[in-house]
């Protein structure tokens, strides 16, 4: 039985190597270009999205993306109300951004918004505010 399992394991591993060499599969250890629910800046701009800024108010007042809405997680109902007012007038994809690639706020708020607005198309901006700066 052990010999059977070893043969099966070797054949399966050979198949996996073939898939990787033939380019059928992306390399599992490579960094994913885009995680699920993320969008690149260029694509978001092409879609004329509703920008939702979840950075601190000081950073927002200093500079923000054109027509971006300030969304304070601590005042969820107010933020959601303002967002819905914009979205209901003209439904468009919603893109949430925070300071940089490493911040989790946009991911967390995008998740919550998907629950509150199940019919809306909601993304997180890849790279956050830093992507705009670049």
């Amino acid at each position: 039985m052990l010999r059977d399992l070893c043969i099966i394991l070797v054949l399966t591993a050979t198949g996996i190597v073939y898939s990787l060499i033939a380019g059928l599969s992306p390399l599992p250890w490579a960094e994913p270009v885009l995680e699920a629910g993320e969008i690149h800046l260029a694509e978001a701009q092409a879609l004329k999205v509703i920008w939702v800024d979840v950075r601190a108010i000081e950073e927002f007042e200093k500079c923000h993306l054109p027509d971006a809405l300030l969304f304070n997680e601590d005042d969820w109902d107010q933020g959601l109300f303002e967002l819905m007012n914009v979205w209901l007038v003209q439904p468009r994809p919603i893109v949430v951004y925070c300071g940089s690639e490493s911040c989790d706020t946009s991911q967390r708020i995008a998740e919550r918004l998907r629950g509150s607005l199940p019919n809306a198309e909601i993304y997180r901006l890849k790279g956050g505010w830093d992507a705009w700066q670049e």
């Binding site: 059977d4 043969i7 399966t12 996996i16 059928l24 250890w29």
Partner: protein, 163 residues
């Protein structure tokens, strides 16, 4: 039939059915594996849709599982690795039944990723999926038990001939 001994007649039908069962199981696993090998990325989406594993582990599963299905599917027809293949298929079918049951209980509307990796417009029929896998599991148990019996008989015959 007069020339066939009662012993052979009594075992001919089960042997024939076991061969059919083995061929059906083998075909099912090979047919299930091929579209997934051709498009592991789409299969990865199906894997993630079960919301049990995500990220890189899902990619590894989407890469390895179809090859394991293909090897064990062919393995059922190769005497040298038949028992190992049947054992892995039993474990895989138990895993699939558990995953379908879990997705059904959570009310997930997903593509099962069984024989096609592309999304379907229809909602998954979990009862049918589970019953189909239970049927395949029963066939696989029969193959496995029969092979164990054959192996034990072979060992006994070898023991008798050496003594």
């Amino acid at each position: 039939m007069a020339g066939i001994s009662p012993r052979i007649r009594s075992t001919a039908l089960p042997a024939y059915l076991l061969l059919v069962g083995r061929l059906v199981l083998s075909a099912a696993f090979i047919m299930a594996a091929l579209p997934k090998i051709q498009d592991p990325v789409a299969f990865g989406v199906s894997v993630e849709a079960y919301r049990v594993i995500t990220g890189k582990l899902a990619i590894w599963i989407a890469l390895a599982l179809p090859w394991l299905e293909l090897v064990t599917g062919f393995g059922l027809l190769i005497p040298q690795i038949r028992r190992g293949s049947a054992l892995i298929i039993v474990l895989l079918l138990i895993l699939f039944i558990s995953l379908h049951g879990s997705a059904w209980a959570r009310g997930l509307d997903i593509n099962c990723g069984c024989f096609s990796v592309h999304a379907s417009d229809k909602a998954p029929d979990y009862l049918w999926l589970i019953l189909r896998n239970v049927g395949l599991l029963a066939a696989c148990f029969c193959v496995l038990i029969r092979d164990w019996q054959n192996s034990e008989q072979g060992t006994l015959r070898e023991g008798a001939s050496t003594s």
